[in-house]
Amino acid sequence: MTHSGPRTGTTLASVEESGRKAALIAYLPVGFPSVEGSIDSMVELVRNGVDIVEVGMPYSDPGMDGPVIQRAAETALESGVRTKDVFTAVEAIAEAGGTAVVMSYWNLVLQYGVRDFARDLDAAGGGGIITPDLIPDEAGDWLAASGEFDLDRIFLAAPSSTPERLSRIVAGSRGFVYAASTMGVTGVRSEVDNHARDLVARLKEAGAERVCVGLGVSNRDQAAEVAEYADGVIVGSALVRALDSEGVPGLGRLAAELAEGCA
């Protein structure tokens, strides 16, 4: 099957071949501060060394998110962001040469129609979906649709996951596995938990080809630390905060700094 956009496995492989320690994966919610503003910001991320952009779809009940992303999501929803706007963002990222994946709470994909979402994401040049509140056990429709359109399905693993759970997650995932570094919600943390290193090792043992680590990374040193043992470093809240307080130039500066950490 031909793709209109790159999948994350290909992107992560080329990062490895280039000799860099890890890929930089950056999250921003579409619609914050506006749809247009968020798309400009995502393109700026690509220009500053971000390999994979996670296009977040704001949701009314973001149970996995801390205050920074909650507030951005509320702002985006108040200004009228719609699910279909993620496809516009994905297209712009693909055009700028980046790899785009969508991060969405499951009900939004479900209401769009799982197969329809997969089809439109593929057509827009997106690589797959990160599903923070969908476990492989509940993902029958998504396994089928992602299979049909050859999209990455990126499930989360947690420090609390048992070996049996990790095997199931690895078996269900494609592209990479998202290792949540800590037990908690999204947000900036002064230290990235030691759990992360252990979890990556356990996932590799369970057969994961590529594992990227998220939750809590906010600066170059933390990125460099995680890049030592992970295939990708995922940053979210710190970038949203930078965009909020320093605008697109501040966002670009932080992205470039994080990219140095991953080099």
Binding site: S60, R82, D133, E138
Partner: protein, 404 residues
């Protein structure tokens, strides 16, 4: 008689499941295992039975409401008096049982979401009794309209957090409790207060509330000489309703009614009638009927009753709705408040505004079924907590009066 619902989760037809972050799956597995073992462990069931009898005050009474019945088409009306339980509602049945489970799992801290405050009070009570730490999340709007319950929880030693995100009501309190849980799950048990949330909560909470229906079934057969023609309950998340319904699902001749909050009217958009104005989706861990916009963003619910002001509903109710076994109808604010006043004046019983929705529904059902009918209504809670709302609604506060 026992709980005849054969549904043990995780799915109820097309509903239920575990739509929740992976990080919480081990905790859910542990809860399920501990719960299932406890159900066949005499030490646990004896301890719970002792607390039900000597602390909650079970069995709760079944009271025939003869004067109120005159407003229900002349049908005989029996009230299951969950309002007489310690702490004033059915919520204690579940909170105490879950607190016992939490102890068995070695947890030292309980957290809970609460709308009207009844579940928060019940959890704070269980924590005090069992010497556990307790933190309750409550939407800011609800802390204002249910201020008395906030004071009760604090007196019981619980920390009450007013949640200021989103719509500032029950759904946002639940989001915040989930965030606390995922960060503190090693020492914390999340006492979900209704038959919603991820598996095993819907089946487990029903199993802790089915004592309502098991008692009521025997009591009404004793009092009326037969099974009722209809059973009625209000449905927010739906725990008092599932607790009552479970014992009657197998009785094909018993009609079952669930009454949702119709708010200002289903056509105004200001309501919490998921089965009239919602459609299937996923929220707070389970697939069920939800009030949502075309994209799937949750819509704000509205009800004069904080306990019914919730845009989602327990997944087993969605299944019972789709199979047609239970009839769900909205009751608007005006009807519920009128039923509250009517029961107070005809029977000397002040119901919670939540329960008043079931009473208003029973008035309709009685009119339809006529004077030969026997109705069983779950009076899920007492109305003391609702005096501020009632006093404003009925204009009972003297001008210039100030409570000191």
């Amino acid at each position: 008689m026992t709980d005849v619902s054969e549904e043990t989760g995780p799915y109820f037809g097309a509903f239920g499941g575990r739509f929740i972050p992976e990080a919480l799956i081990p905790a859910l597995d542990e809860i399920e295992e501990t719960w299932r073992k406890s159900q066949v462990d005499r030490a646990f069931t004896d301890e719970l039975l002792d607390l039900q009898r000597n602390y909650i005050g079970r069995p709760s009474l079944l009271t025939e409401a003869t004067r109120f019945a005159q407003h229900c088409g002349g049908a005989r009306v029996f009230l299951k008096r969950e309002d007489l339980n310690h702490t004033g509602s059915h919520k204690i049945n579940n909170a105490l049982a879950q607190a016992l489970l939490a102890k068995r799992m070695g947890k030292t801290r309980l957290i809970a979401e609460t709308g009207a405050g009844q579940h928060g009070v019940a959890t704070a009570t269980a924590a005090a009794l069992l010497d556990m730490e307790c933190e309750v999340y409550m939407g800011e709007e609800d802390t204002q309209r249910q201020a008395l319950n906030v004071a009760r929880m604090r007196l019981l030693g619980a920390t009450v957090n007013a949640v200021t995100n989103g719509t500032r009501t029950l759904k946002d309190a639940m989001n915040e409790a989930m965030r606390d849980w995922v960060a503190n799950v090693d020492v914390t048990h999340y006492v979900i207060g209704t038959v919603a949330g991820p598996h095993p909560f819907p089946a487990m909470v029903r199993s802790f509330q089915n004592v309502i229906g098991i008692e009521a079934r025997d009591q009404i057969v004793d009092a009326a000489g037969r099974l009722p023609d209809a059973v009625c309950a209000c449905v927010g998340g739906g725990s008092n309703a599932m607790g009552l319904f479970a014992a009657f699902l197998g009785d094909a001749d018993v009609k079952i009614y669930g009454f949702e909050a119709g708010g200002e009217g289903v056509d105004t958009g200001h309501h919490a009638a998921r089965f009239s104005g919602g459609r299937p989706g996923v929220l707070h861990g389970s697939a069920t009927y939800i009030l949502q916009d075309s994209d799937g963003q949750t819509q704000a619910s509205h009800s004069v009753s904080a306990g019914l002001d919730y845009p989602s509903v327990g997944p087993e109710h969605s299944h019972l709705h789709d199979t047609g076994r239970v009839t769900y109808e909205p009751v608007v604010d005006d009807e519920a408040m009128e039923a509250m006043r009517l029961l107070s004046r005809t029977e000397g019983i002040i119901p919670a505004i939540e329960s008043a929705h079931a009473l208003a529904g029973a008035m309709r059902v009685g009119e339809e079924l006529g004077p030969e009918a026997v109705l069983l209504v779950n009076l899920s809670g007492r109305g003391d907590k609702d005096m501020t709302t009632a006093a404003k609604w009925f204009d009972y506060i003297d001008e210039g009066a100030v409570q000191v």
